[in-house]
Every structure is written in C-alpha cells, then in structure tokens.
C-alpha cells in the first residue's frame, strides 16, 4: 500500500474515501482491504479508474456492488463539500482583497455561482438519483408500483448531468491568463491554481464513474426490474 501512495500520490485521496488512513506501515493492499472489510476488486477497480484516464472496466461491470459504488460517490461528495470547496473559498478570500473592487465583486459572484451549481448537482444526485437506484436494488420494490418511480429513468439523469467542470476550468483560466500580475499574491495564486487543477481532475474522474459505470449498471437494472 505504501508503494502505491509513493508511486502515485493521487491515490491518497482515494484512500480517504474508503476510510483508510495513512500510517499503515508495511501492510499490503490485500491485508488492509481485509481489515477494513473492503472488497479488494472494487478497490482496485476504482483505483484504476482514478489513476488511468483511459481505463474502462467493460467486463467487470456485472460484478460491481452498486451499494458500494453509491457509498463511494457520496463520500466523494462529502469531500468536495466539506474539504475542497471550503479550502478554495478560504484561499480566494485571502486573494480577493488585492483585487480591484469591480473584479472582486464579479469574481466573488462567479465563485458563489459555482458553489451553488455544485451544491445543486450533488443534492440532486443524493436526493433523487441515489434513492432511486436504491429502490431499484431493493427486492420489495415490485409490490408497490409507484407511478413516479416507473416514469423516472436514469436517462433523465444523464440528460440532467450538467457539466460542473466548465466553470471550474473558466476560473482556472482566469487565474492563469487574465487576472493582472501581482507580486504580493504570487504564491497564493499558484496555490489556488494547484487546488483548482486538483479538483478539476478529481471531478473528471467522478463524472467518469457516474457516466461510464453507474449509468450503464442502472440501465441494466432498469431493464430487469421494470419489465
């Protein structure tokens, strides 16, 4: 496990979402998974998605435990909302006073708008999509054919799956290219850009998990259950 973190530091974020904390000594991935009661295959699958942008688990889709996937996605959401976004906000708060008033106002509005969008997206997933998938998974579902449930479909989610990465990339480009140079804020600015890049990459992976793994699995479930 230590070798893994050493070879690619991005895996640290992944560990937190599985409840694995650093300080594991020389234990192997297998040992830790056993200890934490994590399915090793699932862990490795997500690791691959996370570290390898071209990875697509065609054959393994059937074996994925959807409940685990939902938990993982919810954990990621918590990480964005509770760690990443507050951190970015804090960094921006110390960065903004150096800006001209009008720039400050619009940048602030821009960032608030972005947080709003992310929050809405996450709430929609957690309050509509995830419960819907849970119902699909539960065996008693067939007894009460809820009309609303019958008419909803993961396709709707797919259509609604807005691109929350767009604004993030805009913010990054503004920071890199367009905000005027300033000596005093030089390092703060670099930190913000690094954070933005990191979050951007994380969100790309997150969206891939949802689009390429969650949605196809749920589509299969829908066909089975709704027939």
């Amino acid at each position: 496990m230590a070798d893994l973190v050493d070879s690619d530091s991005r895996s640290m974020v992944l560990l937190t979402r599985f409840g694995i904390d650093l300080g594991f000594g020389d234990k192997t991935i297998e040992q830790i998974c056993k200890e934490k009661q994590i399915k090793k295959d699932f862990f490795l699958l997500l690791l691959n998605v996370f570290l390898n942008p071209d990875y697509f688990p065609n054959k393994k889709l059937k074996n994925i435990d959807v409940n685990l996937l939902l938990t993982y996605l919810a954990n990621s959401h918590r990480y964005y909302m509770e760690v990443k976004i507050p951190l970015l906000r804090e960094l921006l708060q110390s960065f903004l006073p150096g800006m001209h008033h009008p720039v400050k106002v619009t940048l602030e509005a821009f960032f608030d708008g972005y947080i709003q969008e992310v929050t809405e997206h996450i709430e929609y997933e957690e309050q509509v999509v995830f419960p819907y998938v849970s119902i699909l998974l539960s065996p008693q579902m067939g007894k009460v054919p809820d009309k609303e449930f019958q008419e909803y479909g993961i396709r709707i989610f797919e259509k609604r799956h807005t691109d929350i990465e767009e604004k993030l990339s805009d913010l990054k480009n503004l920071m890199i290219k367009y905000l005027p140079p300033s000596e005093t804020d030089r390092f703060l600015r670099i930190r913000i850009i690094c954070e933005l890049l990191d979050l951007e990459q994380d969100l790309v992976n997150h969206a891939r998990l949802e689009d390429q793994i969650l949605i196809p699995i749920v589509e299969q479930l829908e066909q089975r259950v709704k027939r």
Binding site: H101, P102, E166, D170, Y178
Partner: protein, 195 residues
C-alpha cells in the same frame, strides 16, 4: 475548427491522387479541386481556403496578389506541390513545399505542422476579440439569447453562434459568469453596466 483545403493542378491524376492522400490525413473537413487558373481564382474568392495546395506554375504574380487581397483577414496557407524543376527563388513565397514522391506520413506531418504553427487561421491568430465579438460578448453577459442578440445587432443567429464560438475559442472561457469577469478585467464593462 473546420478547415477547408483547395487543390489546384492541371492534371486530374495529380489532383485526385493528392486528394486521396490528403483526405487520409484527416485535416480538412472539405477539399475542393481546381483544374485551371480561372477555377482557382474563382474558388479562392468564393471559399477562402485555409490551405491551398497548388502547382507553382499555376500561380502568376497577379494571382498571388489576388489571394492576399481576396482572403481578407483570413490568411490562406500556400503549399507548393512540386514535381518538376522550379527556381528556388520562386518557391520562397510558399509556406510549405510538398514533393510528389514523398510518403503519406511525411506529407501528413508537414500539413499538420503547418496548421499548428499558424494557429489555424488568421481568425484566431491572436486572442484579441474583434469589435463585433465584443458587441456579442457584452450582450451575452447581460443574459440575452442568441435570437435577441441577432436582432439587436442586425446579424443572423448563425453569425451570433459563430461569434460565440470564436469568443470561447479565443478566451478559453465558456460560462457567462466567467466571461463577465473577463470583461470587467479588461474594462469592456463596468459594474453599472451589469446592474
């Protein structure tokens, strides 16, 4: 960005052969052929090709002048297709030279490099917005739809869309909120304008 290419040569065999090779390079969306100087002149005016692959003997001094004028702000890249002896001096006006016996890979590499080096075309040569694009940007920020913008500026919605495309391509900013910050930063707008 959809690039269009024009191949000009008297010989149909050369045109068709070159076309086959160039098509495999997947660089151009459309490729047209001109078999004589008149057609060449005509096509340059009509289609303003991004890249002109031409037999140097087909280009007279006046024709080169015409290319420069008729393609306005959009610069056409000139590529000489060479299979006979030419004065070295006369080839200097070309941006690239393709020899008829070169491999497909080499031709593809040359064309790709040519397009990259020139940052596609004059349209997005430098990332400064044109006056018209700025007009569109300002209305966009105020939340106007494509249709509203088109009627306010007396241009077609199609033109509005292409302006919008150019704006995002030049600035690499896609959201209206991000464009607002850009416009404020560059003094194109003030906070009062937004109210």
């Amino acid at each position: 960005m959809a690039l269009n290419g024009l191949i000009a040569d008297h010989s149909e065999i050369i045109r068709k052969g070159l076309r086959a090779v160039v098509e495999e390079c997947n660089i151009f969306e459309t490729i047209r052929e001109a078999g004589c100087a008149t057609a060449l002149k005509d096509y340059i005016r009509k289609y303003q090709p991004d890249v002109l692959l031409v037999n140097p003997t087909m280009l007279s001094e006046s024709m080169i002048q015409q290319i420069k004028e008729s393609t306005e702000n959009k610069k056409t890249q000139l590529v000489a297709v060479v299979y006979s002896l030419h004065d070295e001096e006369s080839l200097k006006i070309f941006d690239e030279i393709i020899l008829i016996n070169e491999t497909k890979t080499k031709i593809s590499r040359k064309l790709t490099a040519l397009i990259k080096s020139k940052n596609f075309t004059g349209e997005v040569d430098d990332n400064v917005l044109t006056v018209r694009e700025l007009d569109v940007l300002k209305l966009l920020i105020k939340g106007y739809s494509n249709k509203e913008i088109s009627s306010r500026l007396f241009i077609s919605t199609h033109t509005v869309i292409s302006h919008r495309k150019n704006i995002t391509q030049k600035l690499n900013i896609r959201s209206a909120a991000g464009l607002t910050v850009y416009a404020i930063l560059h003094g194109h707008m003030s906070l009062e304008d937004l109210a």
